[in-house]
Symmetry: C2
Subunit: 200 residues, 2 copies
DNA sequence: TGTACATCAGTGAACGCGCGTTCACTGATGTAC
DNA sequence: TGTACATCAGTGAACGCGCGTTCACTGATGTAC
């Protein structure tokens, strides 16, 4: 029996793989994506330093796995945030569109270190998986389709919708997070984006 | 006399502070902003590991110094790139505006690791210095003023010019760099931005 | 012009540390008979 | 129902490493007289 942080009632952990991922996320949240260490994870979970290697061949693949996991979390957070505005009206479409941006930014502000992991070059994007299959991207696409369908946005802007919206929101989140722009700039950005895209 | 990488003809180096910064930049370029080490810098410069501490109190302040240095480099790169399009015509204004975005992106692609250092949370932005005093920001502002003055952009978009343009370009650069968007998406982004801002 | 001396730049050995990963192992589990 | 045994999960000691930083030091420099 270990005297470490998390005690176990059996020799076998039960769900060590998941526990490692959760602990890793917790530590990244606290210490930043650099400064993650296999040893600290093991200690947190209450397991020997070598135990993790039954589930992950090395540190890099663990980090990559966490990256994927976090993209899923971000997507489900966005999903939840737009459920508040159902319907096909122009007004609902517009609210959903704006809410996607807000949810993205909220995530960044709430979890700066996780955001840095996802977009800071720590987990190189899987070559196989295209961004087009990413759940968040699909939601953005749908929101833009809805804007046009409901008459809330002129269709001439539609082809540039994804790249413009995603880039803007990503860039502003990043710049604000790192202190290059003030926090209140984000709503300005959304105002500007909607004005420029003719969303009304 | 040292047998290290860079030999010296005198006990005193002459310009060690600058040499340390240059070497650090070289190493960040090669290994990424995490993985920078004081010892490797010293070795590269051909100096003992402790020598650097005559110029920088610790590693963090060196990194912060490099951050500032790089923002200067980016700004001067942008300056140089827009010198090719002088004049007050709408056409020249538009070309300058677009060129600023291109230069920014080119920098990101050419120096991914330096870009990551600057915008990845490694050097927290100086609280004292406002983004409004940043040379790149001032150039962007000027470019937007010129767009309006030359009639190339409707003035109603002017208030959102900086935040929209900077966020877009930053976000797209970041996303492309980390493999979340394809490289050719950048020109699409600029097309979309200009279309949305009514730049013609 | 020559010398003493203060100042400064760089040395090199050492500190204590935490890291990723390997490896032979042992304790627990479940299945076949 | 009971036992032998294969399988699997986690151990713990060890590997070799590079790191940031300190500190008493020494070599070079330049200035005052």
């Amino acid at each position: 029996m270990s005297v470490l942080k998390v005690s176990r009632d059996s020799y076998h952990h039960g769900n060590l793989q998941e526990a490692i991922i959760q602990s890793a996320i917790k530590l990244i949240r606290k210490n930043g994506p650099d400064h993650l260490s296999m040893r600290e994870i093991s200690y947190e979970v209450g397991v020997s330093p070598s135990a993790a290697y039954h589930y992950f061949p090395d540190k890099d693949s663990l980090v990559r796995g966490i990256g994927q996991h976090l993209f899923g979390e971000l997507a489900s957070m966005i999903t939840k945030s737009i459920e508040k505005f159902p319907g096909t009206s122009a007004r609902a479409s517009k609210l959903r569109f704006r809410e996607i941006g807000r949810a993205y930014f909220k995530w960044a502000v709430k979890e700066p270190n996780l955001f840095r992991l996802m977009f800071g070059g720590f987990c190189s994007s899987d070559e196989q998986t295209s961004y087009k299959e990413d759940a968040s991207y699909i939601m953005l696409k749908k929101a833009l389709d809805d804007l046009v369908a409901s008459g809330a946005m002129p269709s001439k802007f539609r082809p540039y919708g994804e790249i413009l919206a995603w880039s803007c929101v990503q860039g502003a989140s990043n710049l604000i997070l790192e202190g290059h722009l003030p926090k209140n700039a984000f709503e300005d950005l959304l105002d500007g984006l909607e004005l420029a895209l003719g969303v009304k």
